[in-house]
Structures are given as structure tokens and as C-alpha cells.
């Protein structure tokens, strides 16, 4: 009985909290369940950490930040429902989300219509920010990473014949692959094979065998770590010992863990990927973040966590500068964001509301450790 009273009290308390005017409500929607839940949860971890930091430092505009999180199960229509609820029921002042461009595209028109700023941490499809002047992104768009890795492969690694293995179900992957191929061919290189898989697949040997027969010097795999780890293993099992290249989807401690044949990360030794930051960068913002993240979640942050963290901070910073939780003012300040010192680099929002920031190329070395290779500026 006592338990129930306490439970009831807690409920009414939390309900009471929600009604108080001394909080700033921020909405977040993401895939907390479903096939892409791991990305949504990482993003949420990053956002939670940023929020706690701000609240611990006294909050925003004298108020605490309350983040209301809604799950969209990785479905576009549920994303629309979640955003509709956040915007019209919870009356949030701004929205953070989504990881996947398809869900961001479902949420963006609703935010735009209601004049609520939306910041997506990691939707790379150029269409997303074209939905209106309230929609922002703080990650690279597809062309930048694809071009950077193509240049890196051609110029630094002297690769002349490359193969592509992309996730056809994932717009991020398809986009990167497209721009990689265009740039690489433009430089004079040759794409000898273009194969694809679907997110959730486990066996890639057919594609890898076929690629092997075409004798490329490197394979560009712009996928997520969830599949890339297995791909790397299977490539090595088939005796395909050429460098694999990828994008920021690779960044996760799980990647090298899965890509382990004999020693940790050995299946990915001497492979390269583009990322937002290098873990060995002495920059205190980065080191501080990694330390705190490890302490809080007992694991190394992945790219999604970093982007979630940065997105939240960039948004909170804009609210602080706006001095008011009003949508139009927040939007104006978001648009003015310049050289924001995020973990994922110095971020500037351009006139198309996309992020301009440098990327780094990392090499996976002995024991799965990342080594900094190069910085590419937009």
C-alpha cells in the first residue's frame, strides 16, 4: 500500500513538475525501440548529458531545462505523431531529432508549420533542411564526407581502383556512396564494383566474393558500425586484405569489438574512416566529454552520442543568446551560430542551415586504437 502511495505521489509530482512555468521544455524524438534503436538511444545519452550539464550550471534563462522524449519506433508516421504531440501538447520551445533523415523529413514540416525550431543531430539528407527556415542540422551533409574520403583514398592512399559496398536501405549510406563515386571518378579513379546490402543483414560474403573477383585496392563501406564490423570480419575470412574506408557511421566502440578475429580490432587494422573528432585530440572539450561520458554510461561514446551532445549544446546556446524561449528568436540565433566549440569540431551554421565544420580522417591501428591522419576543411 505504502508503495502505491509513494508511486502516486511521484506521479503527481512529476505531473506537477510538467506544469510549472520555471522549466524550459525541449522536445526530443528518436528511435528508442525498433531496428535502429541503438542510434536513437546513443543520441539520447548525449542530449541527456548536455542537459544535465546546463541544469547543473544553473539552467537556461534562470530556468531548468526539461527534455521530453518521445519514441518513434523508427517509423516515419510515428515520428510525425511524436513531433505533433511534442509541439501541440507539450508545447516545447524547440525540438531535437531525428537520427534518420526519413524521420526528420516527417517531423520537419510540423515544426516548420508551428514555427518551432528543430535541430537534427545526424540527418544527412540535404532535403531535410530544405523543409523550411526553422530546420537546422549540425552534422555534415552527404557530399562532404563522400568527397573527403574519395580524395583521401585517391591522394593519400594512392588507390586507383576502388569498390563500394553500401547499405541500400539507408539514405545516409546511399548518399555517401554516390558522392564518393562521383568524386573518385572525377579524380581519375575507377569504381570497379558497386555492391549493396540491407541494414540488418548478417551475411555479406556473396558481395565480398564478387568484389574480390574485381580486384579493387580499397573498399568504401559507408555504413553503420552495426554491419561494418561483420563485413570486415567476413572480408578477412575470405582473404580480402585491402583497406576498408568509411564514414562517421563507423564511430563506435562496438565496431572494433565485433571486427575481432584473433586480436581486438584486427579485422579493421589499417582501415580509415572520416569522423567529427579524434579521440586523441588534446582539445579539453573533447577530453572532458569522453571522460564524463565514460563515467556516466560506462562506455566510450559513439558518433551519435557526440552529435546529440553537440546538438543539444548548440540549441541551448542559441536559446541563451536569444534570451527568450520564443521560436522565432531561437531560430534567428541558431542561424547565427558560428564557430561553436563542439566536441565534433568548430561548428558554423551556413545560410542553408547546414553545419560547416571540419572532419578528421582516422586510421584504425593496433588493438583497434584510432590514429589521427588528417583534417579536411569544408
Amino acid at each position: 500500500m505504502r508503495k502505491w502511495i509513494i508511486f502516486g505521489l511521484a506521479l503527481s509530482l512529476s505531473a506537477g513538475c510538467a506544469k510549472r512555468d520555471d522549466v524550459i521544455k525541449i522536445g526530443e524524438y528518436g528511435s528508442l525501440t525498433g531496428t535502429t534503436a541503438t542510434f536513437g538511444v546513443s543520441t539520447k545519452n548525449g542530449i541527456d548529458m548536455a542537459t544535465e550539464e546546463i541544469n547543473a550550471a544553473g539552467g537556461l534563462l534562470g530556468k531548468k531545462i526539461q527534455v521530453i522524449v518521445e519514441d518513434d519506433r523508427g517509423l516515419a508516421d510515428e515520428a510525425a505523431s511524436a513531433v505533433k504531440k511534442l509541439v501541440t501538447q507539450d508545447k516545447v520551445v524547440a525540438v531535437l531529432g531525428e537520427v534518420a533523415s526519413s524521420r526528420s523529413l516527417a517531423g520537419a514540416p510540423i515544426c516548420q508549420e508551428n514555427k518551432i525550431p528543430m535541430v537534427t543531430p545526424s540527418s544527412t539528407n540535404p532535403e531535410v533542411t530544405k523543409k523550411g527556415d526553422y530546420i537546422f542540422r549540425i552534422c555534415f551533409i552527404d557530399p562532404f564526407q563522400g568527397e573527403a574520403m574519395a580524395k583521401f583514398a585517391f591522394e593519400n592512399l594512392k588507390v586507383k581502383k576502388a569498390a563500394i559496398l553500401k547499405d541500400s536501405k539507408n539514405d545516409y549510406s546511399v548518399g555517401l556512396a554516390q558522392y564518393f563515386a562521383e568524386t573518385f571518378k572525377g579524380l581519375g579513379g575507377q569504381i570497379v564494383a558497386e555492391e549493396s546490402y540491407f541494414e540488418g543483414d548478417q551475411d555479406f560474403k556473396a558481395q565480398l566474393t564478387s568484389i574480390k573477383g574485381k580486384k579493387p585496392e580499397a573498399i568504401f563501406i559507408p555504413g553503420y558500425y552495426t554491419e561494418v564490423g561483420l563485413i570486415a570480419r567476413q572480408a578477412r575470412e575470405l582473404g580480402l586484405n585491402i583497406p576498408l574506408l568509411g564514414g562517421d557511421g563507423w564511430d563506435s566502440p562496438k565496431l572494433t569489438e565485433i571486427a575481432t578475429l584473433k586480436k581486438p580490432g584486427d579485422a579493421l587494422k589499417d582501415c580509415y574512416f572520416s569522423n567529427h573528432y579524434a579521440a586523441d585530440d588534446p582539445n579539453p572539450v573533447i577530453q572532458d566529454f569522453i571522460k564524463k561520458y565514460k563515467a556516466k554510461y560506462e562506455e566510450v561514446p559513439d558518433a551519435m552520442a557526440v552529435l546529440g551532445y553537440d546538438a543539444a549544446h548548440i540549441l541551448y546556446d542559441a536559446i541563451k543568446r536569444a534570451g527568450s524561449p520564443e521560436g522565432a528568436k531561437i531560430r534567428d540565433e541558431l542561424a547565427k551560430t558560428a564557430n561553436f566549440p563542439g566536441v565534433a569540431g568548430q561548428t558554423t551554421i551556413d545560410s542553408a542551415r547546414n553545419a560547416r565544420k571540419p572532419l578528421v580522417v582516422l586510421k584504425i591501428g593496433e588493438g583497434g586504437a584510432y590514429e589521427y591522419m588528417a583534417t579536411v576543411n569544408p
Binding site: 508511486f7 511521484a10 506521479l11 512529476s14 505531473a15 528508442l32 525501440t33 518521445e70 519514441d71 519506433r73 523508427g74 517509423l75 516515419a76 508516421d77 510515428e78 510525425a80 505523431s81 511524436a82 505533433k84 504531440k85 501541440t88 501538447q89 533523415s101 526519413s102 523529413l105 516527417a106 514540416p109 539528407n125 532535403e127 547499405d167 541500400s168 536501405k169 539507408n170 539514405d171 549510406s173 546511399v174 548518399g175
Partner: protein, 329 residues
Amino acid sequence: MKRLAAFIGFFLLFLLANRFLPEIIDPYYLHLFTLSCINVILAVSLNLINGTTGQFSLGHAGFMAVGGYTSASLTFYLGPKIIATLDFLPAILAKNFVFLFALLGGGLSAAFLGLLVGIPSLRLRGDYLAIVTLGMGEIVRVLILNVEAIGGARGFSDIPAYTNLFWIISLTALTIAAVASLTASSHGRAFLSVREDEIAAEAMGVNTTYYKVIAFVIGAFFAGMAGCLFGHYLQLLHPNSFTFLKSFEIIIMIIVGGLGSIFGAVVAAVILTLLPEALRYLGPVKDWRMVIYSLALIILMITRPQGLFGNWTPDFRRWWPFRKPQPVA
């Protein structure tokens, strides 16, 4: 004549609803209403195939996808041209004319796929048919992933927002009325006879081949229109929305409602659309939303295996105040 008057009456009523409801009702509830209506169309149309005709189809999401993508291509690529040639009409009429055209295009393309899927149903039964329809749905999805002109893996975005309350309400009403009216007719009994006993139905002179295929065609037609409404509402179509899990969702609706009961399909479609949303207000145990949803489904099936309404369809005419008194038998 009376019928025509009723139609015009409803037409005006729906127009009024379209004009004034958004001002009265909270946009979030309106949004849920819209999604519920789309699911009602899907459930009622699948019920014709699955409940009335007894053909176990797991490919409804495929019909929806084909309808959605076809209509979106029409409004996206052809729409501006049609509107340009219709410049003598007020813009709003021209827009809605294009949408009507898209709805029909979406419905007919899905109906054509329904014809293709209906043909295997002549040879296959039960689980084998289910798996073939499921396969067809997956084939559709994979093909969409491969066509760049309709967005491929990125999804088809920038679809004009043509879906409004008028279309939502009138198509939902039309679907329910048409399927209910058909089911209650002699043709409807022919569908039922296929479900009950194909051999006996043939022996009684029912062309089971025709009725099986036609059930798929009609069901797919309405599902295609639902896909059209869906795409022009979200302004986005993505292959991930049309996996076999979507087909499962619709199947769950009609079975929870009571297989064969149109009324049940409608109620269950609404409940199952709202349930996951209502569970958002769980507070501390919000993370358990989908667990609770699945548990609720299992418990409901165990406690009410015949579905919420069994085979029962209320006789709405009885509640109609102007009905002629019927002689007591």
C-alpha cells in the same frame, strides 16, 4: 433521387467539417484522427480479402505502397502541369482535382497489383498464400528501394500536402459504405461462400476464381487510396513504412476487431492506432510502452479469441430515425 440528395448532403457536411473542424479541434487529435482514418480504410479493405473472402493475405502494405508511390509520382511530376492547364479554375479546385486524379491513379495501380496477387490465390491456400502475398509485398518494397526517381532508399519527399479532412472523411466513409454495402449484397454472399467452402460454392454456381481475384482487386484499390492519403499527408513516403510489419499491423487490427466484422475492423483500427499514442502518457513506465502494447495484444487474444466484436455488425439502420417501420414477422 433520395440517395443523390444524401450524397450531396454528406458532401456539403464534409466540406463544412473540413473548413471548421481544424479550428475547433486540437491539431494533435486531428492528426491522430487522420492516422486512424487511414488505418480504418486499410483494415476495412483487408477485411474484405481476409475476413469476408477468407484469403489469407499478408501483403497489404505492398498495395498501400504502390498506391502511395504511384499517386505521389502523379502529383509530383504531373501535378504542376495539370494545375497549369487548369488555370481557368480557382487554385484550390485545381489542386483538389489533381488530388482526385492521384487518388484514382493510386487506387487503380494498387488494384492492378491486386489482380496480379489475386492470381496465385487460385492455386494457393492458407499459409502458402500468406507467404506468397508477403513475398509480393517485400518484392514491391525492394523494387521501390531501387528506383531513384521516386527517392529510392532516401524516401520520396516533397510530396504536396493535398490530404485534408474532406478527403480523409469522405474516403473513409466511402470505403466503409462501399464494402459494407457490397458485403450485404448477393455478391457479398458469394465472397462469403468462398470463405466457407470453396468446393460447395463452385457446386452452387459461384465462380470462385472471379470472386477471389475481385476481392483482391477491390481490397487493393482502397488500400492504394489509403497509401495516397498517407503520402500526401506526411508529405513523405519511405520504403521502411511498408515492411511486412505494417501488413501484420493491419492483420492484427482486423482480428482484434473480429474477423469479418466491418464494425469491428473500424473500432479496432482506431483503438490500435490510438493505443501506442495513449501509452505515451504512461509517465514513469513510458519505456515499457511497446511491451505493454504487445502484452495487451496477447491478453486480448486469449480472453477474447473471437475478437472484440466476433462476427457482429450492428444494424445501424435500426437507429436511423426516419426508417419505415417494418412489419413484425
